[in-house]
C-alpha cells in the first residue's frame, strides 16, 4: 500500500532500524504463514482438488452459483448506486433527505437480525432459495456504502461539465451515461470491489436464504465439508476449498489495493 507521507521518524521518534525490521518482518511472517500453509497443504496431494471437484453437487456448480451471485450483486450495486448517487448529488426532489437517511440506516441495523424476515419476504415474492433473491439482499446491504461513495463522486465533478453537455442538447440521461459515468469510474471500481468481496465471501445470508444443495454458494458448500463423511473430515480437500474461495479475492485485492484503500479514506464506513 502506498503512502504519501514523507516525514520519516517524525511521528514516533527515531526507532533503531536494527530493531524495526526484525519486528515487522516476524509479524509479516506470522500474518502470511496461514495463507502459505493452506496453499501448500492443498497442493500436497494433487488429489485434493479432484476430490473437491466431485464433492456434493460438484465444486463447479457451487463456483458457478458464487460467480452468478457476485456478478449480479456487483452489477446491481453499480447500477442502483450510480443512478441514485447522481440523483442525490445533482437533483432536488421531495423526500430526498428521508430516502438518504433511510439508506444510511441500513448500516445501523445489524445484518443478522433482518435475515429471518427477509427469508419470509423473499418467499412472498417467489425468490426464496433463489440466487437472484440472495443477490438483491446483497445489493441492499451494499447500498449505504455504495450510495455514499457515488454521491460524493458525482458531487466532486464540476457542474460546468454537466451544464456544457446539457447546453449542447444532451438530455440528463445522455449527460449521465456519456460523460459523468466516465468521470466517476474510480468510485465505480471501489464500489464494485467492495460488492464483490462481500457477496463472494458471505456465509450467513446464503446459509439462511438458500436451502437446496444445488443452489449453494462456495462458502456454504465448503463449510459443509466439515461435516465429513462417516465422521472423517477430508482436511486436504477442505484446504483446496479454502483456496478456491480465497485466491480470487487475494488477486483482486492485490491488483485493486488503491481502490480498496480509497473506500476507507472516503469516510463512507462511518455511516
Amino acid at each position: 500500500m502506498r503512502n504519501e507521507r514523507p516525514a520519516e521518524g517524525v511521528r514516533s521518534g527515531e526507532r533503531p532500524m536494527t530493531r524495526y525490521y526484525p519486528t515487522v518482518g516476524a509479524l509479516a511472517v506470522l500474518f502470511l504463514f496461514p495463507l502459505v500453509w493452506s496453499g501448500w497443504s492443498s497442493l500436497e496431494e494433487p488429489d485434493n482438488y479432484l476430490r473437491m471437484a466431485r464433492f456434493g453437487e460438484g465444486v463447479g456448480t457451487y463456483a458457478t452459483n458464487s460467480v452468478l451471485v457476485s456478478g449480479m450483486t456487483v452489477a446491481g450495486t453499480l447500477l442502483v448506486s450510480a443512478l441514485g448517487g447522481y440523483a442525490f448529488a445533482r437533483f432536488d426532489f421531495p423526500g430526498k433527505n428521508v430516502l438518504f437517511l433511510a439508506t444510511l440506516a441500513i448500516l445501523m441495523v445489524p445484518y443478522a437480525t433482518i435475515l429471518i424476515p427477509l427469508y419470509v419476504l423473499l418467499g412472498y415474492i417467489g425468490l426464496q432459495n433463489s440466487l437472484v433473491g440472495l443477490s438483491l439482499v446483497f445489493v441492499m446491504f451494499q447500498l449505504p456504502f455504495a450510495l455514499f461513495m457515488m454521491r460524493n463522486a458525482f458531487e466532486a465533478i464540476p457542474r460546468e461539465l454537466e451544464e456544457a453537455a446539457l447546453v449542447d442538447g444532451c438530455g440528463t440521461f445522455r449527460a449521465f451515461s456519456r460523460i459523468l459515468l466516465h468521470a466517476v469510474r474510480p468510485a465505480l471500481v471501489t464500489v464494485g470491489l467492495f460488492a464483490f468481496l462481500a457477496s463472494w465471501n458471505d456465509f450467513f445470508a446464503p446459509l439462511i436464504l438458500l436451502n437446496d444443495g444445488a443452489s449453494f454458494t462456495l462458502p456454504v458448500a465448503v463449510v459443509s465439508m466439515t461435516q465429513g463423511t462417516f465422521g472423517a473430515i477430508d482436511y486436504g480437500m477442505l484446504q483446496a476449498g479454502v483456496m478456491v474461495m480465497a485466491i480470487p479475492c487475494l488477486i483482486l485485492f492485490v491488483i485493486l489495493q488503491r481502490h480498496y484503500v480509497r473506500g476507507f479514506m472516503s469516510g463512507a464506513l462511518r455511516g
Binding site: P6, P34, R90, P110, A112
Partner: protein
C-alpha cells in the same frame, strides 16, 4: 446591509441554470427510484415484518396466528438465552480489547514511509481480503492435531508433549476463535486507524518534539487524543461485529461443547431453522436489534 450591492450570491452566481434544468424534480425521482425500491422492499418491509412476526406464532411451515406477547414472554425461559448472552458479552469484551491493541500496534509500526513499509501493510491486511468463513475453515485445518502444523511445531520446540484440544474445550475454543479474529481483522482495523493517524498534521509532532516531548508523551498527549474519533469508529465496528458473531463458532464448534460457545445470533438461527419457530426467532431479533441500535447510539454519543 449589502443586499443591493454587487451581484446576488447563491445559485445566480453560477449564471442562471439553462432551460433544461427544469423538470428536474421528476427526473431526480426517476434516478433515485431503484434505490427507493430496494430500500423499501428489502429494508423497510423486513423491519416491519420482523416486528409483526414477533407478535405471532409463526411456524416455519403453516399458518401464523397472533399470540402477542407470547414470543417475548418466553425469551427468559429459553434455556440457551442467558448463557448465550453471557458468552457473547465475554467474547466481545476480550476480542475488542485485544483487537484494538494489536491494530493500534500495527498501525503505529507502519504509519511512516520507510523502505518496504508498503509490503508490510499489505502483508498485515492480506488476511482481511480472505472471506471470514474461508479464514475460519483455514484455521480449522491448521489447528487440527494430525493435519495442521501447529501441534508438530510446538512439539518440535518442546513446548508441549501431548496434542492440544484447540477447539475441544470451551476455553480453548474461545482462545482459538480470538486468534482467528485477530489474524483476520487486525489488518482491517489497522487500515481504519492509519486513515486517522495520517490525518494528524506532521507539524503537530514537530512542534511537540521541539518542545522536548519524549516518545511516550507524544503518544499519550498527541496521538491518542487526536486519534479518538477513529478509535471510536473502530471500537463501534468491533463491538457490533463481535456481538453478532456467528460464522466462527458455527464452523469451529457449532456452539458446543454443551452449548458453551453458543452466541446470540446462533440462538436466533436455531430457533428459526431447528425449532421451526420463526416467531420466537423474530422476537429475539427485535430484542437484539433494539439493544444494538441503542448501544451504537450510546457509543457514538459517548466516544466521539
Amino acid at each position: 446591509m449589502s443586499l443591493t450591492l454587487g451581484k446576488p450570491r447563491g445559485r445566480a452566481a453560477h449564471s442562471a441554470p439553462p432551460v433544461r434544468w427544469r423538470g428536474r424534480r421528476v427526473q431526480g425521482w426517476l434516478y433515485a427510484m431503484p434505490t427507493a425500491v430496494i430500500v423499501a422492499v428489502l429494508f423497510i418491509a423486513p423491519l416491519i415484518l420482523v416486528v409483526w412476526m414477533s407478535l405471532n406464532k409463526w411456524p416455519l411451515l403453516g399458518q401464523a396466528t397472533f399470540n402477542a406477547p407470547g414470543n417475548y414472554a418466553k425469551i427468559p425461559s429459553n434455556p440457551l438465552f442467558y448463557d448465550a448472552v453471557l458468552f457473547t458479552l465475554k467474547y466481545t469484551a476480550i476480542t475488542t480489547v485485544l483487537l484494538s491493541a494489536v491494530a493500534l500496534g500495527l498501525a503505529l509500526l507502519v504509519q511512516e514511509r520507510r523502505p518496504g513499509v508498503g509490503f508490510f501493510r499489505t502483508a498485515f491486511f492480506l488476511p482481511g481480503a480472505v472471506g471470514f468463513a474461508a479464514a475460519a475453515l483455514l484455521f480449522y485445518g491448521m489447528l487440527n492435531n494430525d493435519f495442521g502444523p501447529i501441534d508438530p511445531m510446538l512439539r518440535a520446540i518442546g513446548v508441549i508433549d501431548e496434542p492440544i484440544k484447540w477447539i475441544g474445550t470451551p476455553n480453548m475454543a474461545l482462545f482459538s476463535t480470538i486468534a482467528l479474529v485477530l489474524w483476520r481483522f487486525a489488518g482491517f482495523n489497522m487500515l481504519i486507524l492509519l486513515t486517522g493517524l495520517q490525518a494528524i498534521p506532521t507539524e503537530v509532532y514537530e512542534a511537540a518534539r521541539s518542545d522536548g516531548a519524549n516518545r511516550w508523551q507524544v503518544f499519550t498527549k498527541i496521538t491518542l487524543p487526536l486519534l479518538r474519533p477513529t478509535l471510536a469508529l473502530m471500537l463501534i465496528l468491533s463491538v457490533t461485529g463481535s456481538l453478532l458473531a456467528f460464522d466462527q463458532f458455527f464452523i469451529f464448534t457449532n456452539g458446543g461443547p454443551d452449548n458453551s460457545t453458543t452466541t446470540m445470533v446462533m440462538v436466533v438461527y436455531r430457533d428459526a431453522f431447528f425449532r421451526f419457530d420463526l416467531g420466537g426467532a423474530a422476537a429475539l431479533s427485535v430484542v437484539l436489534l433494539v439493544a444494538l441500535v441503542g448501544l451504537n447510539t450510546l457509543m457514538m454519543r459517548r466516544l466521539r
